[in-house]
Amino acid sequence: MNVVEVAELRKTYGQVVAVAGVSFTVQDGEIFGIVGPNGAGKTTTIECLEGLRRPDAGTVRVLGHDPWRERRRLAPQIGVQLQESALPDRLRVGEAIALFASLYPKALDPRPLLEQLGLSQQLRTPVAKLSGGQKQRLFLLLALLHDPRLLFLDELSTGLDPHGRRAVWQLVRATRARGTTVLLSTHLMDEAEELCDRVAVFHQGRIVALDTPSRLIARVVGSLRVSVRIPEGAPLPPLQSLPGVRRVQREDATLVVHADDDRTVAAVVHSLVDHQVPLRELRVSSGRLEDAYLALTGTAVTREEQ
């Protein structure tokens, strides 16, 4: 069953086209990620799904509802963490939780959630006194409190330190395990790779790729990544022409080769040895979503500049 259905969604602000015809579906129980540079249309798309913005064209269905027309009927079933939101400075954490719990027909026991998010000691703390990461975790808790069927997380880990991010990731996975579908947007590719079943790469208001992280990596940059330290100015063999080599990049003193498989890696290493390039700090690792993302969103920029 599809929890979210978007077809040819368009949204313009004055002269600026924020979303230029986007289509995708999110399946029940899935963690679906939206990634893309700033201004790619991620937040506009999410806000159209939440019923906060009215699409200019296209159809949007969320849990069978038109979010703009039926926001009130949709609202009890969705949990929303907005990218930009706030609570009154003098409201205390415990009061915020009591308020949001009271707005829904049912609410979970907040204590385990507080525990998991490290907010148990903050119940009497005014919102203004919370750190950025604590605020972010509180908003996640408020979005989860009524056990929604669909959870929207816009810029999930903004302001979180590594510990906070781990805790939040764990909670998102546990939430999905309870049957909640999750739609999140993020700037962090390791986060998308870690959490998402499928990822849509947004660029300039369109989806330029949509797949599982591993298939996306394999398709765009190959499954393997070879890096080796090379002396400055050293001549390089023509690696690009080897079969199975996707991309060759030189980043300062490091050569990065994106390759399809082990056979290709062997051929690359051979070629380097044949051309007397010393194999210092040679590393073979899995392809990264970040490389695929940069390739997808970077080439489009170059194309436009030409």
């Binding site: 906060l52 926001r71 609202a75 706030a86 009061e95």
Partner: protein, 247 residues
Amino acid sequence: MRGLARLTLTEFLLELREPFSAFFSLVFPPLLVVVFGSIYGNAPRPESGGLGIIDLTVPGYIAMVIATVAVFNLPIALATYRERGMLRQLAVAPVSPVALFASQLAARAVLSALGISLLLLTAELGYGLRFAGSLPSALAAGILGFLAMMAFGFALAALVPSARTALVVAFVVFYPMLFFSGMALPPEILPERVRQVAEFLPATPIVTLLHAAWTAEPWSDHWRALLLLAAWTAGSLATAIWRFRWQ
């Protein structure tokens, strides 16, 4: 219902914790009574039908409490909530604009009642407040006035684009009413010209009706004030509903 009660309680607590709004709705009016009472006392004056200075100024102060809570503090609070995204947070939860309005109405009714009680208590304990009118009349005038001021406050909140503008508008709208509608100064000392213009300020009919209730004048003497009040309320409500926005 549970949600509405919580929203109301939350708004009430937040207003109490806001030093500026708590001071001007709860502390400032009794303070005025003490200041003017210590200067003029509250001796009965034959030319005022046996009422003293404090007896005559208290109806204006009641209107001042209501106007502070509804016209001054409400637009600033709502505009701030909207600007900082708190209203969007409520919009994606199952909260209707009606529930938001109702919770503000309830919280501010309690706040006004509290402010007015403190004011009356101070006047009574300090200067033996005299009341020559009918209590049902005074209550009706107070409730009507509160509803009218709340409608006006909601309209201002819907019209202002930002929290900063809300503050400016609150000052620009509130201060003329404070001095020319008879809240802080008795209208008798104002020049006739000013009184003629001030009649059309939204708070003036409220002060008129409260005064009338206080001195047992019949409502039928004040149909002009009632009409003006009705016109302001209808216009304000229409504006508040038509221009309401969550973001």
